[in-house]
């Protein structure tokens, strides 16, 4: 299967600071990819590079076989909903749809109208008077009606209440099925990502720390606890993500492709949240800009 997005040693520098570096990734088509990491980790930068709104400082990125900003035909394949789901407050809902139709050659007016109707939005209402949830839904409608093959969303649900968040994700997942979309969305809310995403990228300190299929990530990461021992004494195929040592006990989170055979460990599964936090924790511990090699687990189909 051809990947929908590929990047090689992609980097972006603002002044002297790297916002993203050494980012080498491959995302298969038809996935919903969660992009997680603390603020300032490079999530928005990555999305803007994928959307063609920023040019890379180093390396390269290909979306659907072309460079993101390579002309109108290429830009039409990519939808982008920027942070805080921006709308024009003084324009009405109907104005937004007219604007979308004027700016996008592949605009699906039927889709836009139906979605607005189903959401119960009044076309004559100014966007500034909509609730947060409605604004987000309007921005999503604009992104979908463009009929992109890849939809990028930057923190689309961060400012929404739980009900609006759920409704937004319901609409998004429905669109994934209906229009065979691939999606990359960044979020802090791991519980939402756990439901919606089948692929995950963890970014911290401007670098990709781990990326791959959620199912595979969960199957290959384990929490081991048992009598205290030095982390160097683990089998070669077990990579330590984090290790905590008390007087008598050690708790280690490892990535291992094979089963854990050592009977002195008690082994437990990680949730997606545990896994993401372990990688974030590791970064916080290291306080270094060393190029910790990204771990890429590509599921093979």
């Amino acid at each position: 299967m051809t990947p929908i997005l590929q990047s090689q040693e992609l980097g972006k520098k603002y002044g002297r600071r790297w916002a993203l570096r050494d980012c080498t990734l491959e995302i298969p088509a038809g996935r919903v990819v969660g992009l997680v990491g603390p603020n300032g980790a490079g999530k928005s930068t990555f999305l803007k590079l994928a959307a063609g709104q920023l040019a890379p400082t180093s390396g390269g990125i290909t979306v659907l076989g072309g460079r993101p900003a390579d002309g109108p035909a290429q830009l039409a394949k990519i939808g982008f909903v920027a942070q805080d789901t921006p709308v024009y407050p003084r324009l009405t809902v109907a104005d937004h749809l007219r604007l979308g139709a004027g700016l996008n050659p592949g605009w699906d007016a039927g889709l836009a109208r139906q979605r607005i109707e189903r959401l119960g939005l009044d076309p004559a209402q100014r966007a500034g008077g909509l609730s947060g949830g409605q604004r987000a839904q309007l921005a999503l409608t604009m992104g979908l009606a463009k009929r992109p093959r890849l939809l990028l969303l930057d923190e689309p649900v961060a400012s929404l209440d739980p009900l609006a968040r759920r409704e937004f994700l319901q609409g998004l997942m429905e669109a994934v099925v209906e229009y065979e979309l691939s999606v990359v969305l960044s979020s802090h809310l791991l519980s939402d990502l756990e439901r919606a995403c089948d692929h995950l990228i963890v970014l911290t300190g401007s670098r990709v720390r781990v990326a791959g299929e959620v199912e595979r990530l969960l199957a290959t990461h384990h929490r081991l606890s048992g009598p205290r021992r030095e982390p160097g004494r683990l089998p070669a195929d077990q990579h330590v993500i984090t290790a905590r040592h008390a007087d008598r006990q050690s708790t280690v989170i490892v990535r291992a492709d094979g089963p854990i055979l050592d009977p002195s460990w008690s082994v437990s599964h990680l949730t997606l949240e545990d896994l993401v936090l372990a990688y974030m924790d590791r970064q916080a511990d290291q306080h270094t800009d060393e190029p910790a090699r990204a771990i890429t687990l590509e599921g093979r189909r």
Binding site: V32, G171, E174, V176, S191, D192, E194, D198
Partner: protein, 130 residues
């Protein structure tokens, strides 16, 4: 038609939760042969979950021979799990109630009853395998 739900805290993966819910409904006779399962689009639109989760659950059920996908039409139940055993539920339930009353009389609280049941259930299951 079955309505799925998800328990985020159960620790059971979402696709398995869907599989269990179908089996459960089949066992209780809530789903019967010929019934249609909700479309993938319906399920994701309701639960806000990844479409591949639903596809995987349906594939698993198909693999078990419980449902069959008819392209362009939907996924249909092809077998029932309830059949004869459904009739046995009522007398078993009565016996279980009597047992529960005895357990309470002996001073067991809810947690002790659950613990006793699940350890006995597990050890019996292991003996069956052995």
């Amino acid at each position: 038609m079955i309505e799925f739900h998800l328990d985020a805290r159960s620790g059971v993966s979402p696709y398995l939760q869907l599989v269990h819910q179908v089996r459960h409904a089949l066992r209780l006779g809530l789903l019967r042969e010929g019934d249609r399962l909700p479309t993938v689009k319906d399920v994701v639109a309701r639960l806000a979950i990844n479409p591949n989760t639903v596809l995987k659950a349906y594939r698993e059920l198909e693999h078990e021979g419980l449902v069959a996908a008819r392209p362009g039409v939907g996924t249909f139940v092809t077998r029932t799990l309830a059949n004869a055993s459904l009739a046995a539920h009522e007398p078993l339930r009565r016996e279980l109630r009597r047992w529960l009353a005895k357990a309470r009389l002996a001073g067991l609280d809810d947690e002790s009853i659950e613990a006793l049941f699940s350890t006995t259930f597990r050890s019996a299951a292991e003996e069956d395998i052995a």
